[in-house]
């Protein structure tokens, strides 16, 4: 019975962690202030 509780706990924590990380996602940031280029840049 204690083994079952331990296994269930591990499983629940794994699901909770993955759901939390994916729900947080990544920040979108802001549009770059750099222009659309009309000159040839000297380097990348």
């Amino acid at each position: 019975m204690r083994a079952l509780v331990a296994a269930t706990t591990g499983l629940a924590v794994a699901f909770a962690l993955v759901f939390a990380i994916t729900a947080l996602g990544s920040p979108t940031g802001e549009t770059s202030p750099k222009p659309l280029l009309t000159t040839v840049p000297p380097h990348p």
Binding site: R2, A3, A6, A7, T8, T9, G10, L11, V13, A14, F15, L17, V18, I21, T22, G25, S26, T28, G29, E30, T31, S32, K34, P35, L36, L37, T38, T39, V40, P41, H43, P44
Partner: protein, 330 residues
């Protein structure tokens, strides 16, 4: 104490074993995406190209034609579209700026490309365009999906505004990176004149009045790193002609541009470096971590079972239980 340790190890074993498939098949498709605020530029060159001189309306050999391509993620526009689309969307405002050997503008074509941040499938929304003309893209443009497959894809051609297959032609090694080589041929197709022409006073409307039409064909080649879906190199064998009408002075056709367009060397190096580092990040989620967690889970489970087995060795009293009392005799 040994029993408690084996239970903790069991919980950890299940945790890591469960994390392995969850990371690969649940988290990865949701976390791997093109950032909405991406900004990148690319320089391509066509050496010894043929270019139309609009002053004399004759084709001339020129040492170099340069194409500067900028892609800029428009975060505000993507957030606006996401509200109705209900998924992560990227809006790329792009500009293809073509410059002649004298540094003067040959053409500039803006476009707006809207696509799903995870799958790179096009998303149709207001504002999607090429050179100001509304379009409804099908297929890919610029980038392949993460975990690109060895198969043909549909690719959108911005010049002709058509979608056509881009064929998988094999796996190659490009500067130490395994890449899939794709090729698309667009046959001679009548295409619109760019809205911005290289000579002042000439507009697509004034050219249309002369009856002259613009035709284009290209062989598009991409070397795509399959894990990230990012092209590490690209080439185009590109030809444009003006045909018919009074503008050509009785000639049937004249070459407007012909050249073998290739990425500039410094951009190839920087793209390969960028793709290599992004590849590692994607592999971390699709391979390194899932397999690592699975192995760790198995190891912890073995350790847990070992401790449990040792705790139950025959002949030894079970932990926490006192030996049976001796019978008392009078």
């Amino acid at each position: 104490m040994r029993r408690k340790t084996s239970l903790v190890l069991l919980a950890l074993a299940v945790f890591f074993a469960a994390l392995s498939p969850l990371l690969r098949w649940y988290a990865f498709p949701r976390l791997a995406k093109i950032p909405a605020n991406e900004y990148q530029h690319m320089v391509l060159e066509a050496r010894n190209a043929t270019l139309l001189d609009y002053g004399t309306m004759t084709a001339k050999k020129v040492p170099k034609v340069t194409i500067v391509q900028t892609l800029k993620g428009n975060v505000e526009a993507s957030e606006k579209i996401e509200r109705t689309a209900g998924r992560d969307v990227v809006v790329w405002d792009g500009l293809s700026y073509v410059q002649g050997p004298d540094g003067k503008m040959v053409s500039k074509v803006p476009e707006r490309y809207i696509f799903d941040a995870h799958t790179q499938e096009p998303v149709h929304a207001k504002g999607e365009m090429v050179d100001g003309d509304p379009v409804k893209r099908e297929g890919l443009e610029f980038k392949w999906p993460f975990l690109t497959e060895k198969r043909d894809y549909e690719y959108f051609d911005a010049q002709a505004r058509v979608t056509a297959p881009i064929h998988y032609k094999g796996t190659q090694d490009f500067r130490g990176v395994e890449v899939y080589y794709f090729e698309q041929t667009i046959p001679w197709t009548r295409v619109p004149f760019p809205k911005t022409m290289p000579v002042k006073g000439i507009t697509p409307e004034t050219v249309a009045e002369t009856g002259t039409t613009r035709w284009y064909t290209t062989v598009r080649k991409f070397w795509v790193e399959p894990v990230t879906g990012a092209p590490v190199y690209g080439e185009e064998i590109h030809k444009e002609e003006l045909r018919g009408g009074t503008l050509l002075g009785g000639r049937e056709k004249v070459t407007a541009f012909a050249g073998h367009v290739k990425m500039r060397e410094d951009y190839i190096r920087s793209t390969v470096d960028l793709v290599r580092s992004n590849r590692t990040a994607v592999l971390l989620m699709t391979s390194y971590l899932p397999w690592g967690f699975l192995a760790l889970g198995v190891l912890l489970l073995s350790l847990s079972l070992y401790l449990e087995a040792r705790g139950r060795r025959p002949g030894e009293p079970e932990p926490g239980r006192s030996p049976a009392p001796e019978p008392v005799t009078a």
